[in-house]
Amino acid sequence: MRHTIISTTLTLVLSAGLSAPIAAEPSAEDAYEYRESIMTALKGHAGAISRQARGLAGDSDYVANHAKAIANLGTELHTIFQEGSNIEDSEALAAIWDKPEKFAEALANAEDAMAALGEVADGGDMEAIGNAFMNVGEACKGCHDSFREEHEHEH
């Protein structure tokens, strides 16, 4: 009973939090931080898939989860490049907004590749997942090449 009350309370509190009014447009800082969160999530799943692909993840058999996570994250890529969000720490190049058509094409490539990865995730065809992941990597690299300032990578 006590458990139920706590759960209910928690649910209400969380719902209230989630349904709080949201500002029409995030600040440049918030837009940047949100983009960083999505990119960090993407690279986490990509790293996990690659380690499974290389046989470095022991008996882990969760590759489909990571593939679907990438596909899900991919659907919002086009929403996370708010104009003006290339603040000081951002590696986003001005070309993102200066060459909108070229950027839209690069983003669409990434979103398509990620969607394709999601489509084969559940089928159990591991060869298809591997190939789809390679295409995702190609799309990520292509976009970073033209639209991201290359930073000093943490080794």
Binding site: A53, D59, D61, V63, N131, M134, K141, R148, H153
Partner: protein
Amino acid sequence: MGIGRVSTATLLLLTAIPASAADAAISPGEYLIYAGGCVDCHTADDDDAIPLAGGRAVESPFGTFYSPNITPDFDTGIGAWSDDDFVDAFWEGKDPDGDHYYPAFPYTSYTGVSREDLLAMKAYLFSLDPVDKTTPEHELAWYISTRLAAGAWKMKNFDSERFVPDPDQPEQWNRGAYLVRHLGHCGECHTPRGSLGALQHDRELAGNPNGPDEEKIPNITPDRKDGIGKWSTSDIEYFLQIGMFPDGDFVGSAMSAVIDHNTGKLTKEDRIAIAAYLKAIPPHLSTD
């Protein structure tokens, strides 16, 4: 969800890696053209550029170099070159008229490549359709704007020398050394340069804070802080194949093109040889 299924999944994923250039039954010369990183520099930076027809601008502290057309066009390419002309370009840094190349053409590394490999590369280039394309003249600082300056630089900074395998090292290390030091010319970007642009060979691959196109080129020695000492052989091999860092991020920058046109097209065996060599060189801190 037995172990059997997991293992099969892993195996299938491993075999899902796209066929490398060598697996696709390409000629040895074409493979070497990829391994030599020729396509990237000798192809203009336009979406519809014809591969190897030159015209790519390479910014350097000394000015802008434009890569030449190396298709077999008789007038604007290398169609008139003999075998010896071709070999001399790589071994001696000279064009068929005896003029000195600027070291933007990395003969300083290519000098170690074997004649057999060079002639295989030439055979492949001569199998391509000739492209009639004149490329722009270099735009250089006054003090190096004559080929005589290139010759003076060469006398001070260059020895024509073939790669000789080190009998004390395993075959894999030697293959990696040949690919990294000579054919792949990794040091041309990754090794710091002293005054007048001479490579600091005693700091091999320690990074270049002022690399081509004003990029800061990373330290790839096994130093654990500044270099890639924490990367496993698999991490390096995988990075060279698809451009993914160990943390799952994907590379951009000039290295993205190197992966597309060079290391990504090599056999896995060659990429592992490169990784083995990179793990065996002395660690260095980065140059500030």
